[in-house]
Symmetry: C2
Subunit: 698 residues, 2 copies
């Protein structure tokens, strides 16, 4: 593929299928391009000599060289049209035409052809089924939408063309500007990851935003986005969050929905800030595109009205930020500058008769305080407060102190002009205190993304060959599942398991029991019996003398329960002191988009009833493994809460990492559960294991 950046800075744009027939998409695109594009527009259509006053060429070979081809010919002609432009030297193509994979098998076949041609010629292809692309830098609107974007520093991709149309209409009215806009369409060649990568390198893009219904390659997206978010914030609406939404998205785009849990984890690991509505998307983007991140979390609130001040304080309380504790000098300075009735503690209530000067003084004093990382100016309209002058003062103080300031100038019309001035200087004005604080909160979230250190996955020294051999045993199982008889898989990856072995006669059971200190546990080992305890297939606290009989008993019960069951033997296992330890669970299942999704929780009711779990997309390093443990609500139980024995958290962290390595090394493992992983004061022990293997992947 050629450099993607060229897609957004062509000197000539060809419209393949240009026309001036009223109502035709080929006319709308040509007209939109013709209006403002800094370069040359080249209509191509064998049946026209002129389109909208521009010279029209019968084919691309007779046309001047085209940097970007916009294809609007009927579906059956698309692939040939692309081949033709490619032969003529064009590297960038936008396919507007619909009727591909979104419409059934014929369309899907056509899309495969399209992809093959793109590969053959190494083309950048947007679409098919795209509204088009815009690049305000060069005045290019190569879409058939009714609106052009205003220039700005937000780059915007959307999997829904209608979403772009809807948003632009409103954004233009609000004065929100864009750098590049892309309607992704069916994403047959270029997808969200490509544009994130491209815009991450674009110095003119301050924020990347997007509306996505699915991410094709979650793994790759996380990797690329993680790097990009070091420099450029990404805010995404990923729809299909709920079951009903996922179903709707799947019927809309034909994509297989990955699990919301995987998206949540993957996007979080990628450093993406997630918005849940159009409003949130732009509330965040407006703050991120114009303001620096706060250095500390203390917020100062400056207002002329008690009620709105309290509402703002509540919003701060709801956010990751906190109300700044003012230094004594700040209180003193405010007391001096403000009237007696004012509240000089945070929120600063400069009271109802506050004019611009008093607001300015309060804001200046607040921003001088080192405990203040950001500020919200909240005002009710009054006779003495001139909003346009207030805007100037806010801009001045914001720039003087280089701290983020947002405003909530309440009231309708009155605030409009002030809002426009503020916007020009990057300061978003919000309708509601809670939205203003959400804007600041997005800045703090992004600061945390930038500042975080994510440990790279550690490579432990493991016995991969032995593990491969064990996993391959699944070939011998009809259901491709392995159970407790494969505990040596964990051993191969350095995860501690209790002493013991699987035996197939009672005499050997006794020998093993005698080699183990203290009592033992016996468990039936059978691929056909999954609830061992329920059928009496488990005996705990068995002494050496009793082992022989217990063996016979356990086997008899299993036979009795299911005469046809294959019995591989009986596991004789060291008995752990469960009173002094905590049962945890580490699991994995493979997500179609993101790959292996690790899960951690405490055993029993905590996972099953309280659903108190944390997840990460593997592979992960130490920092993520540790966060998984800290994130669950029940984590104090591992730390020794309520007089419990504290668990060896470091050992759990290491186990999670080793399992991360295992499931990454073996894509054939579809699901895996270590349940329980018992964590004591010193170390952990995996007591039981189940996994499902895709034997075709072996």
């Amino acid at each position: 593929m050629g450099r993607l950046s060229e897609l957004f800075e062509p000197e000539t744009v060809g419209v393949i299928g240009a026309t001036d027939r009223e109502g035709a998409v080929g006319r709308a695109i040509t007209a939109n391009l013709h209006e403002e594009f800094a370069g040359e527009v080249v209509p191509v259509n064998p049946s026209r000599e002129e389109v909208l006053g521009l010279e029209c060429y019968p084919d691309v070979t007779s046309a001047p060289p085209i940097d970007l081809a916009v294809v609007v010919v009927p579906p059956p002609a698309v692939v040939e049209a692309i081949r033709a432009v490619a032969e003529a030297g064009t590297e960038n193509v936008v396919v507007i035409t619909a009727g591909f994979s979104e419409t059934g098998s014929e369309g899907a076949a056509r899309e495969r052809e399209l992809r093959a041609v793109a590969e053959e010629y190494d083309l950048n292809v947007v679409g098919p089924n795209s509204l088009g692309v815009m690049a305000t830098d060069v005045g290019m609107n190569a879409t058939f939408g009714p609106e052009s974007a205003r220039p700005g520093s937000i780059s915007f991709m959307s999997q829904s063309g209608a979403f772009i149309t809807a948003v632009l209409d409103w954004a233009n009215e609000q004065g929100i500007g864009f750098q590049d806009v892309v309607s992704l369409g069916n994403k047959s060649v270029l997808d969200e990851t490509d544009f994130v990568r491209e815009w991450g390198e674009d110095p003119d893009t301050d924020v990347i935003i997007g509306y996505l219904e699915g991410i094709d390659d979650g793994d790759e997206f996380v990797e690329v986005a993680r790097e990009v978010t070091d420099e450029t914030p990404i805010v995404l609406v990923k729809s299909g969050r709920t079951d009903a939404g996922a179903q709707a998205a799947s019927s809309h785009t034909g994509a297989i929905a990955g699990s919301e849990r995987a998206y949540e984890a993957g996007l979080e690991q990628a450093g993406v800030i997630r918005a849940h509505s159009v409003q949130e998307l732009f509330d965040y983007a407006r703050a991120l595109s114009g303001l620096p991140e706060p250095e500390t979390d203390g917020v100062a609130v400056v207002t002329n009205a008690g009620g709105p001040g309290v509402l703002t304080t509540d919003a701060v309380g709801d956010s990751r930020l906190g109300m700044a504790d003012f230094a004594d000098e700040t209180i003193d300075a405010l007391s001096e500058a403000m009237p007696e009735e004012a509240n000089v503690y945070n929120p600063i209530d400069a009271i109802g008769d506050a004019d611009v000067e008093r607001f300015g003084e309060a804001l200046e004093i607040a921003l001088s305080d080192p405990n203040v990382g950001s500020a919200v100016v909240v005002s009710a309209p009054t006779a003495v407060l001139e909003y346009d002058k207030l805007a100037e003062t806010v801009i001045e103080k914001r720039e003087e102190f280089d701290k983020p300031v947002v405003t909530c100038l309440m009231g309708g019309d009155r605030a409009r002009a002030a809002e426009e001035v503020l916007r020009e200087f990057g300061i978003p004005n919000y309708f509601d205190p809670s939205r203003a604080v959400a804007g600041l909160d997005a800045l703090a979230r992004y600061r945390d993304v930038r500042e975080r250190t994510v440990d790279a996955p550690e490579r432990f020294d493991v016995d991969r060959e032995r593990a491969r051999e064990i996993v391959s045993r699944a070939n011998e199982r009809e259901d491709n599942r392995l159970g407790i008889e494969s505990m040596d898989l964990l051993e191969a990856y350095g995860i501690p398991t209790p002493a013991g072995e699987i035996v197939d006669d009672p005499g050997r059971a006794r020998e093993v029991a005698e080699s183990i200190e203290g009592d033992v546990v016996l468990k039936i080992v059978s691929p056909d019996i999954s609830h061992k305890s329920d059928i009496g297939g488990v005996r705990v606290g068995v002494s050496d003398e009793d082992v022989y009989d217990a063996y016979e008993d356990v086997v008899a019960r299993a036979r009795n329960y299911q005469p046809e069951a294959t019995i591989l033997g009986v596991q004789v296992q060291e008995m752990l002191d469960l009173e002094e330890s905590t049962e945890t669970i580490v699991g994995m299942n493979r997500d179609p988009q993101f790959g292996p999704l690790l899960l951690f929780g405490l055993g029993g009711i905590f996972v099953e009833i309280l659903e108190d779990t944390s997840v990460r997309v593997a592979p992960i390093g130490e920092s993520d493994a540790r966060e998984m443990i800290d994130e669950i609500r029940a984590t104090p139980l591992l730390r020794g809460a309520r007089g419990r024995e504290p668990a060896d958290v470091d050992a759990i962290v290491e186990t999670i990492q080793r399992l991360s390595q295992l499931v990454t090394d073996f894509p054939a493992i579809l699901e895996l559960d270590v349940n329980p992983l018992v964590a004591g004061r010193d170390g952990v022990q995996a007591i039981d294991l189940r996994l499902t293997v895709d034997t075709e992947e072996l």
Copy 2:
């Protein structure tokens, strides 16, 4: 007090302290009244003969009779001014003047005087420190704010005058109208409960909304609001939700903050719909003021754009509503009416070229479906879709089927005119699909409020006199606390406790133990030792033979731990089978605004680590007690999850009700904890008790 409704329908309004001095509040009010008021405006001021062209009277005795007096004289003159208007026969007074309890002790004294005069003359007094009141019915704007409200069916109270100013400016621009508006000020006489009661009886008020920082008498508010919400929805922003916000509210209004938990429970029990921002307040109010409640929870989504359709579906998934399952006939009818590419399952995607007619057909078919309780029309702007005609069609279908329909016509300017038409017919248009669904959700919430049945508190037959005697023992304790030695308090209220008694010699301990079947538990009884187990003051599983020694041992350990401790004896208690039962906790603490707040949770980690509790304001009946149990996350554990013994939930329900009665009967009980209340398969047993008593209340 005279009828409060007269406050909103005066024939003459007197302005006590009217003036035409520029910038004076007394001028602003006179001018606002003069502008549109249907009745007579009577300025009163001894130093003017005319104010803004109106005849001005030197005092109220020489003025015509005044129905409503608006007082704007300086603070020291307010009380006399009120007395004068009362003497002249006025029953309704709004005190605009500030400088009362919000400013310190002198102001507080002045406010007490004001309240005394109001009581003496049986006056309705709004304020002091109020922006004023409005009643659009009679064109009355008796405030000094810059804007008059438009007529409408929303009645609005606010504890912040600035909030009213800010909101009206914006609401006027949005075309949102009001019936009455009240700035509550310091609420020295009339408070939120009075206006809720009044508006509940006002046929012209469809929705009551409010901004409150505190509720003075939570108990009374719950009682009144519960009744009002049977007919009229109430939506409130109660600020000071967070710790920081509560502190800010308290410094703003001087009120003692009750706990957020109590507000949450009290408002919920009252049937109030709570909003967390200005935006939510009006998003809900707009739906509630113009639309019927949905009969079922199924939502139909009709759109011309896949992406926004998916976003809407997600919003439905997040709400209490669900996507409607279309009947087969609906699918058939849609398949017939829509083009082939359309999605006829819910969300209905009528695709990009849908015109008004197709939208109308889709909406009609959807609303005909009995599974559809409400609908959202979501549209992206297109060349073929005329928004104003779409509005007409939506109005027509909504009225035809009498089901609630909201819209999200995306795009800026384009939607404006349509939005106005829709509003006239009660249909709110929202910026964002998530807000549109939130509007429908508010309707469903209100339907649930109307339909709920709240059981009245049952009066159990209890031994109140004995209980009074036991509670009074707190008089003998320095710290006003009672412990396990007061278990008979629970017995007096019919709550089961294990067999046993408190003894003070080892011989008697043995006698008691012998009278109890099985082993016993010994517990030291001392007001000075609160963590009995930690110091070895508890012995479980003691056999009859061992009781003597165990008694000596427990006492010795207590003495050893704290030689000065008062030891009341040792409790010899039946030992319960805790393996087969579940520990729960029922507690109560008294909230300054709402009174007794009951708490329920499972014992141990569930309350302390997971904070998994439910609360209600007492007294409560069976339905609330049952809900308390159902609301906790761990509730499946009581129902027999994971092979546990199911607990006797009915017995817990009864215990909660009996405790509700106990704490209601004895306001002197400030705090009470039954911990644990052990719930077995058949019945419950209270094992331990602590309470704190306000001995002055005895």
